[in-house]
Every structure is written in structure tokens, then in C-alpha cells.
């Protein structure tokens, strides 16, 4: 027998009140933890995915949409830009390097991205097996694509038009998997990468039937912008600045002098988080209110139970317990309540995130890790403990003040 066991016995002696308080506290904590996990991981992922991309140049439209579609591959592209115009920009002295992207097709919801090998280098992609594409219609699969679709090196599949699932198939062309990438936890994991020419050819053949000779098209560009005699289009151009000066001049140049628009990933993302911020802080507020209420609940539960327990406390004093031990007993009950709430809250939070992730097949959420434990969760637990202590202060003081003689002779 000790104080912890005694507190525990008192708690389980009134299971409903204890259960309610623990659940209230756990829910509040769970919401905070889900928010923390998502915020931390999304922000980290967003930054990782955008690393090395200073500017995205694409068709005019919403700059946020442009960033979301061509850096994170979650929104639809704004449109296409002229290859020649893109080439002119890439020759600008402020531009260090450019990577072209051609979007437009998908396979079972995973986007087929036409690009060059620089893109693989940008994300430091490594091959699990196979190698990068060397001919038209060869593709490299992101780790997640390969896993979810069960495709491996040497397999073939047919792409569908459009960047989301359920559009019509491009019947003539089979893509050949030339390699599969190692999982990196970034955007590349859920992409199907190929050469720009593969994407072009798919659509040309669609439009112009099959009179084009395949021999012409089998040459593809591995680095830099593709060459073409006819006017061609790409979707976006990822740009790296040569120097800090470019950050000031280049966007202005693109936006005012060309038919294209330029958007900076870091700027657009911080704008997005600002927009989402209102919702997040409201949820956070709600969570803190929940925790506050559960604190109040703990207080009321302890206080009420003390009324019934004044005799018990007096008895404890009569059999040798000191005032201090009674105070400890009450605090211990508050502690155990908050401790349980914290543990259950953390479990609920992580499980809930795991559930959300398992419900999403292709979105950004998929790459989140539900079972990563953050340092800030410790702060949440600490906060819960503070609530527990605060809720126990007044009841503990009452326990301290209980006069045994009066209590015992009252009956």
C-alpha cells in the first residue's frame, strides 16, 4: 500500500467521473497533437520539396496554383507556356539552371511528369533498381507509386489523359518502367517521371493519329531544354537563381515582359500558411478550451469527492498520515488523471493521423509519418500537468485544512 495506489483506488472507485475527465483531457490533447504533427511535418516537407527551386515560371493564373501544381504536384497546372519563350528565359544571365516540366497525364491517379535528368538530381534521387530513362516512353517510378501499383522494372502500363484518375486512356502508347527510385519521403515518391518528349509524343499521336514516324521521336533530351523544330509547349520551368540579385529582378521581368508568370515557392507557401493559419489557430483555441474544461472538470471532481471524503481524510490523519501526505494524495489524483489523459491523448492523436493518412491514397498526406514523436509533444504533456496541478491546488488546500477532531466528532 502506498499513496499512488491509494489515489488510484479512489479514482477507480468513481469510474465515470474519472473516465469523463480523462477523455475530455485526452481529446483536447489529441487535437493539439494532430495539429502539431501536421504542421511540423507538412512545413518540413513543403520546405524539402521546394529546396533548390527559387522560382517557378508557368502560364498566367494563380501563383499559388502554379506552385502547388508544379512543385508539390497537388493542384492542376495553370496552363502551358511556349517552349521558345522558356528557352529565352533560361538564357537570361540571372538564371543559373532551369528544369522543364510537362504535365498532363496520369496513371491510376499518379502523375506522369515529363522532365529531364536534372529533376532527379535536384531531389538527389537514388535508384532502388533499374536506371533512368534513355528512350521515349521509358519511365522511372517513385517508390510509393511502385509500391501502391505493384509495378517493377520491365513492366508496362498505359497512361490516361488528364492529371487525375478516371480520364480516357491513351491507347497507342505503353510506358516501360526502366527503373524504380528509393523512397525519400519527398514529392518524387509519388511521381512517374519520364522525358518531355514522351509526354509530347503521347499527345501528338492522339491528335495526329499515327502518321508520325517513331524514328524521329526516339531521340530525347536528357539535360537542358528539349530541341524542337516546330513550336512546342511545356507546362512550367523550375528556375534556380544565379545570384541574389535575380530574386528581385527576375520575377518582375517575367511578369511584366512575357506571357508567363513567375512565382516563388517560399513566398507562396508562407502566404498559404497565413491563409490556413486562421483555421489552425481556431482549432488550437478549441483544443485549449477543451483542456481548460477538463481542468475544471478535474477540479470539480476532486472538490466534490473531497466533500464525501472528509471523513476518510480525517481517518487517514488518525491512523498516522500527516497533512502533507494528504496534500500529496490529492495532487497524486490530479496527476494520475492528467497523466492518463496525456498518454491517451497522444495515442488518439497519432492514431487519428494514421487513420487520415490511410484514407488518403495519393495526396500530400500520404507522405506524413503518424508515429513520429515530436519534442513539442512533451510541452503538451507538461501543459497538461500544469492544468492537473492547478486543478488540484484548491482541493489539496482543503484537504490540508481539514480538522480531524471536528470531522470525526461531528457524527
Amino acid at each position: 500500500m502506498n499513496l499512488i495506489k491509494l489515489s488510484w483506488k479512489y479514482l477507480v472507485f468513481r469510474p465515470f467521473s474519472t473516465g469523463l475527465n480523462v477523455i475530455l483531457l485526452a481529446l483536447g490533447l489529441a487535437i493539439i497533437i494532430v495539429l502539431l504533427l501536421m504542421q511540423e511535418q507538412l512545413e518540413k516537407k513543403m520546405n524539402e520539396d521546394a529546396a533548390g527551386i527559387d522560382l517557378v515560371v508557368g502560364a498566367k493564373g494563380s501563383p499559388l496554383q502554379l506552385i502547388l501544381s508544379s512543385v508539390y504536384h497537388i493542384d492542376f497546372p495553370t496552363g502551358n507556356i511556349d517552349l521558345e519563350e522558356a528557352r529565352n528565359l533560361s538564357r537570361n544571365r540571372l538564371v543559373k539552371n532551369t528544369i522543364p516540366l510537362a504535365l498532363g497525364d496520369n496513371y491510376q491517379g499518379f502523375r506522369i511528369v515529363g522532365t529531364n535528368l536534372d529533376y532527379l538530381e535536384l531531389y538527389q534521387a537514388e535508384f532502388e533498381n533499374g536506371k533512368s530513362w534513355s528512350k521515349a516512353f521509358q519511365v522511372v517510378l517513385g517508390a510509393e507509386v511502385a509500391e501502391k501499383l505493384g509495378l517493377k522494372e520491365g513492366d508496362e502500363f498505359m497512361g490516361s489523359h488528364g492529371i487525375s484518375e478516371g480520364s480516357h486512356d491513351h491507347e497507342a502508347n505503353y510506358y516501360h518502367v526502366s527503373g524504380v527510385l528509393k523512397p525519400k519521403g519527398n514529392v518524387v515518391d509519388r511521381l512517374i517521371l519520364t522525358s518531355i518528349e514522351s509526354v509530347w509524343l503521347t499527345h501528338e499521336e492522339d491528335e495526329e493519329s499515327e502518321e508520325m514516324e517513331k524514328s524521329i521521336s526516339s531521340e530525347i533530351t536528357l539535360n537542358g531544354l528539349p530541341q524542337s523544330e516546330e513550336p512546342k509547349e511545356i507546362t512550367t520551368l523550375l528556375v534556380q537563381y544565379r545570384n541574389p540579385m535575380a530574386a528581385i529582378q527576375l520575377p518582375r521581368l517575367v511578369n511584366s515582359r512575357t506571357n508567363m508568370q513567375a512565382a516563388s515557392p517560399s513566398f507562396e507557401m508562407s502566404r498559404l500558411f497565413e491563409l490556413l493559419g486562421v483555421g489552425i489557430s481556431m482549432l488550437k483555441g478549441l483544443a485549449f478550451v477543451l483542456i481548460g474544461i477538463s481542468g475544471l472538470g478535474i477540479f470539480i471532481a476532486l472538490y466534490n469527492s473531497l466533500k464525501d471524503r472528509k471523513y476518510d481524510l480525517a481517518i487517514l490523519r488518525a491512523i498516522g498520515a500527516s497533512r502533507f501526505q494528504l496534500v500529496l494524495l490529492i495532487f497524486m489524483e490530479g496527476f494520475i488523471l492528467t497523466f492518463l489523459g496525456a498518454i491517451i491523448g497522444i495515442l488518439i492523436g497519432h492514431s487519428f493521423l494514421a487513420l487520415i493518412i490511410s484514407q488518403n491514397q495519393t495526396g500530400v498526406m500520404v507522405s506524413l509519418q503518424p508515429w513520429i514523436f515530436l519534442k513539442s509533444e512533451l510541452w503538451v504533456v507538461a501543459y497538461a500537468f500544469v492544468v492537473g496541478v492547478l486543478a488540484s491546488v484548491i482541493p489539496a488546500f482543503t484537504a490540508y485544512q481539514t480538522s480531524i477532531a471536528k470531522q470525526l466528532t461531528k457524527a
Binding site: 500500500m1 502506498n2 491509494l6 483506488k9 479512489y10 477507480v12 472507485f13 471523513y311 476518510d312 480525517a314 481517518i315 487517514l316 490523519r317 488518525a318 491512523i319 498516522g320 498520515a321 500527516s322 497533512r323 502533507f324 501526505q325 480531524i404 477532531a405 470525526l408 466528532t409 457524527a411
Partner: protein, 210 residues
């Protein structure tokens, strides 16, 4: 001498001062404290157990002047040396019978291997691990006696232990108190106005509010 009091007085706010007779008690002796309701019997008991402190006078238990002890030391001294049986059992309902006894051991920092034997002696062998809520009134009172004995105290104080019991249970309780006090060599003081108790113990003092 196990217990000795000298010139004890106590005053409730706004009331007349109560003066208590001096008490001298040896090990194994029993004493009744008699008196009308409201005469201050329970007050005397509270003084003896250190639950409240006298206005004047001194109380020596086993050589220790308890008015010189304070706070935690007094609580511990009480736990270790005085066993108290109250009018009502006042057991800790969330705990089992055995755990109620162990609790007494825990707070007074004593170890007693004979807890089970005490329960058996008190006719509670079937109830060792029962919940307090399943006990009858008489059983409850016997458990509270067992708890008072759990720390093998030098002094057992009982406040109207039989007042809510029927004849049979009252008889049992008095017998058990006397036997057990003798067994561990403790002095026994019973506050009562119950005739059934008076038949068993001859030595008494009377408390009068004068």
C-alpha cells in the same frame, strides 16, 4: 505508567471551560469514560489522541509528552502508538478490508505480519479481501477495531464503539477489544454511556462540565 494526564482543561469558543480528572493507566488496564451527552467525553478522547490540544495540562503516553509534539511528528506518534475506534466504522470504501489495515501500517511506517491473524481473531477470516461496501454494521465495526490494532498500539481509544450495535454485536465488540488489548499489552479506554459496556469494565472516570 503508560498514560498519565495532569490538570487537563479545554474551552470551546464561547463556552465554559471543561476540567478533566487526572488519569493514570498502566499497561493492560482498562478504563471507562462516562458522562452525559455533551459533557466533553469525546473532547477528552480527542485530547488523549492528540487530535486536538489542551488549553492547559499535560498528557504523557509511554513517557512522551504529546503536547510537546507537533505536526508530522504528532501524526506519526499517534499512528504508531494510539489505535482509535470511532463511533462509526469510517473505513476507506475504495479499499478492501485487508488494504484498510495495510493503510494504517503504511502511514505509521510500521510492519505487521499478523494482520491476517487479527482479522481471524475478530471473526473476519471470510472477509479478508472483501470490499468494505459488502460489510454489515457489526462487521464494519470489527474491521475498524482491527485497523486500530494493526499498528500494535500502546493505547487503544474507543469512542462509543457499541452505540449503533445490537446486543450480540456489542458483546462481541467489547470482548474483542478487551482480549486484543490484553494480547498486545495495550491500555484500553472506552468512552461510553452504554450499560452493556459498564458490565465488563469496572474502572471508570466521569466527565462533568462544571
Amino acid at each position: 505508567m503508560l498514560l498519565g494526564t495532569k490538570d487537563l482543561t479545554f474551552t470551546y469558543p464561547g463556552q465554559r471551560t471543561i476540567r478533566f480528572e487526572n488519569i493514570q493507566l498502566e499497561e493492560g488496564e482498562s478504563l471507562l469514560i462516562l458522562g452525559k451527552s455533551g459533557s466533553g467525553k469525546t473532547t477528552l478522547l480527542n485530547l488523549l489522541s492528540g487530535l486536538s490540544s489542551p488549553e492547559t495540562g499535560e498528557i504523557k503516553i509511554n513517557g512522551q509528552d504529546i503536547s510537546k509534539l507537533s505536526g508530522q511528528k504528532l501524526d506519526l506518534f499517534r499512528g504508531q502508538n494510539i489505535g482509535i475506534v470511532f463511533q462509526k466504522p469510517h473505513l476507506l470504501a475504495p479499499l478492501s478490508v485487508m488494504d484498510n489495515l495495510r493503510m494504517a501500517n503504511f502511514f505509521s511506517k510500521k510492519k505487521n505480519e499478523k494482520l491476517k491473524q487479527i482479522l481471524i481473531d475478530l471473526g473476519l477470516s471470510e472477509k479478508v479481501n472483501s470490499s468494505i461496501l459488502t460489510l454489515s454494521e457489526g462487521e464494519g465495526q470489527r474491521v475498524s477495531i482491527a485497523r486500530a490494532l494493526a499498528n500494535e498500539p500502546k493505547l487503544i481509544l474507543a469512542d462509543e464503539p457499541t452505540s449503533s450495535l445490537d446486543d450480540e454485536n456489542a458483546e462481541k465488540v467489547i470482548q474483542v477489544l478487551k482480549e486484543q488489548a490484553k494480547k498486545i499489552g495495550a491500555a484500553l479506554i472506552i468512552v461510553t454511556h452504554d450499560q452493556r459496556v459498564k458490565n465488563h469494565i469496572q474502572k471508570f472516570i466521569e466527565v462533568k462540565s462544571s
